[in-house]
Amino acid sequence: MIEILLMWSLFAFSVSIAVFLYRAIKGPSAPDRIIAMDTIGVNLLAVMAILSVLLKTYAFFEVILLFGILSFVGTVAFAKFIEKGVLVDDDNGR
């Protein structure tokens, strides 16, 4: 029973990733794209988590964490780039 549920949720996540992918490609503005990419990242995390339940393995846990960190840093970088036009300040407000 739980497996069918997991399968269906995997399917749902795939659909949502596809939809977000459309937004990321089409997205009229840059913030749209960034939010879409970030959400794709979150969805991927969820997919990995479900997979690790399905496959009954702990091996993906580190991957999930690491992916979360990287996606977080990436989103922050993009957001900052949009806001300020630079990624890394030379000397910030001092």
Partner: protein, 145 residues
């Protein structure tokens, strides 16, 4: 302009420790599980990149007065030296060995020379990634002016 990026900075201050702890965990997990020097180094690098994003080059450089290019070379040197260590004991190059050490706090602990190799790899990865980031971001600054 003091209030700038206050959310980002606060989150960063908290998150940096989590990320670094996770990096150490990944690094140490590498012996029997997925993980190891490469990913550990990259995770530390991502933590420092987060610092760079939230603060600025100057602050990070005063906080971490390390030349990352040198760090990369030192890392490779460590990795190579552990390989050569095996030659001293008459085994083939890169042969790794391990033994059990009794540490006061952790009890019976496995200690392997592969860890030393991994330290080298971690340093090399960290150094390379960060020197690339520093170079590029510095270059962009110069270019904008």
């Amino acid at each position: 302009m003091e209030s700038k990026e206050i959310i980002l900075r606060t989150v960063t201050k908290l998150a940096i420790f989590i990320i670094l702890a996770f990096a150490v965990f990944l690094f140490l997990a590498g012996h029997h599980n997925p993980g190891g020097g490469f990913i550990g180094g990259l995770t530390v690098a991502s933590a420092i990149i987060l610092l760079l994003l939230a603060f600025d080059i100057k602050a990070v450089k005063t906080g971490l007065p390390i030349d990352f290019k040198v760090l990369a070379f030192v890392g490779v040197l460590i990795a190579v030296t552990t390989g050569m260590g095996a030659m001293v004991f008459g085994a083939s190059f890169l042969t790794q060995t391990f033994g059990h050490v009794h540490l006061p706090l952790f009890g019976e602990t496995e200690f392997a020379t592969a860890v030393l190799f991994d330290v080298g790899v971690a340093f090399a990865v960290l150094g390379t990634a960060l020197s690339i980031i520093f170079t590029i971001s510095g270059d962009i600054q110069r270019w904008k002016r």
